[in-house]
Amino acid sequence: MEPACQEALELVPWVVNGTASSEERRLVHRHIAGCGACRREFVQSVVLQRRLSRAMESLPAVEGRRGVRRADRVASLVEALGVPGIVARTVRLAAELPRARPAFAVNIPLVATIRVGS
């Protein structure tokens, strides 16, 4: 592969995702205007981005299975953690944690471990 092609193609993902600098964008656009092979790879990259993003969006969301409202879950998380540094409150909340099930059940040992250790 020609060094100019390599240089342009290494920048293509960042031109496609919109984070390349204007100088990098100009370099790529100038190159693919005169190089059919690299132009094909540029188009393939655009298609890849669309397919990957479509496939990613078909994946479930974080709480799809459990049906727990996000706000409720975060409230449990924040409540259980307490304001950083206020250990007494966290200990009190830890004692009440069974009522937070099932949304927070997995993390009870985690919270307890961190607070005891800190």
Binding site: L48, R65, L77, V78
Partner: protein, 167 residues
């Protein structure tokens, strides 16, 4: 100049639960899908998201703005994924759970994507789906920018070859 997300982290550092809720609403699904693709396990991925949020809550005051908030969070999440994979090392090589892969077009896509190495998959996700810049990907992966550019170029070509029916 301070961004809205940096202000949000300051509020989290001050113990404001509504700010934490906002961070969760913005990032939980993005982090979950990344973790799901890395761990191939819904429960592990959910745990990774909670552990990432917990770490963000605890270390928000240590954030110095050297990277964007999303880069910072993905960096934490990546470490949590690595912890999960150490606990469950076979997870990374499993196929995606059937209930998680989506419609027919997505199933076909993931079938091809899964033939890449985990490192290739991660690079392509960060660049093409999450839209990180070269510098941000380098920060998340903790490698030089030149390495990111070169590895992403090769990963993209390997995926293209697989999509065209090559090995």
């Amino acid at each position: 100049m301070e961004t809205a997300e940096e202000r949000l982290l300051k509020r989290i550092a001050a113990g404001e639960s509504s700010a934490m809720e906002r961070l969760h609403a913005t990032y939980a699904d993005r982090l979950f899908r990344y973790a799901l693709l890395r761990t191939r396990d819904r429960q592990l991925a959910e745990d990774v998201v909670q552990e990432t949020m917990l770490a963000a809550w605890r270390s928000a005051s240590a954030y110095r703005g050297d990277s964007s908030v999303s880069t910072w969070l993905f960096g934490i999440c990546r470490h949590k994924v690595a912890d999960a994979l150490r606990r469950c090392p076979q997870a990374e090589t499993r196929p995606l759970p059937e209930a998680a892969v989506g419609d027919a077009s997505a199933i076909e896509f993931w079938g091809t994507f899964d033939r890449l190495t985990p490192d290739d998959r991660e690079l392509l996700l960060l660049a093409f789906h999450y839209g990180f810049s070269q510098q941000e990907v380098a920060q998340v992966l903790d490698v030089p920018v030149g390495t990111v550019k070169s590895r992403t170029f090769h990963a993209r070509r390997r995926l293209q070859a697989l999509m065209e029916g090559g090995d």
